[in-house]
């Protein structure tokens, strides 16, 4: 299968000298949904910002460390790449910068230079998809966190990206908002890379996960195998999620995982 995202030995250091990423390499196939896990400060957000050309601030023409659908993230390609890879930011207030929800959702399609009629169709479609049609005229500061997050997602979906890059999509959401967002994400057919601390979300949505710690990839493999490895989880500031520790009456027998403490080598 073609690679939607390819990261080849990516290293990055912030201007103050902090090393954020060291030799990070992995690929995400088209249509795949991958969880990006790791403790705070492990480099998840920094990595995501490289996928859309936001980092590094000065893109180098010859850099070929990140490829989106086969195109290197360079100054010449960055516009085309931003059309294909939509980024959902961690803080919805950073992303909702227009005066009303519909204006914000229209921002991306307008930047794409689409005609007014098409912009309107996309705004209506995206708002309907996230269930916010009723709040189109609302100013963003009057929305709840869950609504803000869905409005952000509508803004990204309105650009019809083939790849969705999500930074902590469920942080700050109440259980209902979280469930709604998970259901929404499940229905979106795009390739997804989800950076999160919400391990239960990863178990539900992502068949594969990558664990980052101190800027390095420390594990890459099937989500259930990685998350069942308690030693691995604890060594990298994570924990074995509840959903894998107990059987649950609402889940089928096939969803119940053994309580083994796997010490097998983690596939890379």
């Amino acid at each position: 299968m073609n690679a939607a995202i390819e990261i080849l030995s990516l290293s990055f250091r912030y201007p103050d000298g902090t090393r954020a990423l060291s030799e990070v390499s992995f690929r995400v196939a088209e249509g795949e949904c991958v969880g990006l896990l790791g403790p705070n400060g492990s480099g998840k957000s920094t990595l995501l910002h490289h996928l859309n050309g936001i980092l590094p601030e000065r893109l180098q023409a010859e850099a070929r460390a990140v490829l989106i659908e086969g195109r290197a993230v360079t100054p010449q390609n960055v516009s085309a790449i931003r059309r294909r890879a939509g980024l959902l930011f961690q803080d919805p207030d950073d992303q909702l910068f227009c005066s009303t929800v519909s204006e914000d959702v229209a921002f991306g399609p307008e930047q794409l230079g689409l005609p007014a009629g098409e912009v309107e169709t996309r705004v209506r479609g995206a708002l309907e998809q996230v269930g916010l049609s009723d709040l189109a005229g609302r100013p963003p500061h009057h929305l709840s966190t869950g609504e803000k997050r869905r409005a952000c997602l509508a803004g990204v979906l309105a650009c019809s990206p083939g790849i969705l890059v999500l930074d902590e999509p469920t942080s700050g959401l109440d259980p209902r908002g979280r469930r709604e967002l998970i259901a929404l994400l499940r229905d979106i057919p795009a390739t997804k890379l989800i950076a999160t601390h919400d391990l239960e979300l990863v178990v539900e949505l992502c068949p594969r996960s990558v664990i980052l710690d101190r800027g390095r990839v420390v594990a890459d493999g099937p989500t259930r195998t990685l998350l069942n490895d308690e030693a691995l989880m604890l060594a990298h500031g994570l924990e074995r999620p509840h959903v894998l520790q107990h059987s649950h009456p609402h889940l089928g027998a096939d969803r119940v995982e053994p309580l083994s403490r796997s010490s097998e080598a983690v596939p890379r």
């Binding site: 859309n52 931003r82 980024l87 930011f89 910068f97 227009c98 204006e103 991306g108 930047q111 100013p139």
Partner: protein, 196 residues
């Protein structure tokens, strides 16, 4: 360069409101000091608009009161200055102008206002700046309130000096946070195709 999704078809009534407000401000500014009754007529006009538009009076008066130091400052400058301008004329003029702008802001949403300005071909960079300023004023106000609450929760002394020092620290932090947020907002704009 395009402006952040501002409506292209402002309602006619918003355009009329903005034009009326500009006309009233110009009238108040150009009213000669020798005709104090004209100020009374302009004030009556603003009052009629307030009554006609059924704007709630309390918030309007509160905003007017909040901005009254500027009126007082202008009047004081007239008293101390050597131009011979009557301070009462200056106070009346500024009050009429302020009241007009407050009524406009209470009857017209920022979206409509920006739409009218866009139709009037105001440079889009200025419009984007205005839209962002309006949007993030609320975020910063929330942030400052949260920091204020956190400060109060851990303030165990009644010392006024200490209170002012911590207040100043909070203001400093707010500037840093505002600048960091500005960078993140710019990143989010670039992520959705913004070309500055």
């Amino acid at each position: 360069m395009k402006t952040a999704g501002i409506s292209r078809t402002p309602r006619i009534s918003s355009a009329i409101k903005v034009a009326g407000a500009i006309a009233l401000v110009l009238m108040a500014t150009l009213t000669p000091a020798s005709h104090p009754l004209w100020f009374a007529a302009e004030a009556a006009l603003v009052a009629a608009v307030v009554l006609g538009s059924r704007v709630p009076l309390r918030p309007l008066l509160r905003r007017l009161l909040m901005l009254s130091p500027f009126v007082a400052g202008a009047a004081l400058a007239a008293v101390l200055g050597s131009h011979g301008t009557d301070w009462r004329v200056l106070a009346a003029r500024s009050t009429v102008c302020l009241a007009t702008v407050i009524v406009l802001s209470q009857t017209t949403s920022i979206s409509e206002l920006l739409g009218v300005l866009r139709a009037a071909r105001v440079p889009s960079l200025l419009l984007t700046t205005l839209a962002l300023m309006h949007r993030y004023l609320f975020v910063l106000a929330d942030e400052s309130a949260r920091m204020g609450r956190a400060r109060t929760a851990r303030t165990f002394t009644r010392s006024r000096r200490f209170a002012w020092v911590t207040r100043a620290t909070v203001v400093g932090h707010l500037f840093v946070r505002a600048s960091e947020r500005a960078e993140r907002v710019y990143d989010a704009m670039c992520a959705r195709g913004w070309k500055a």
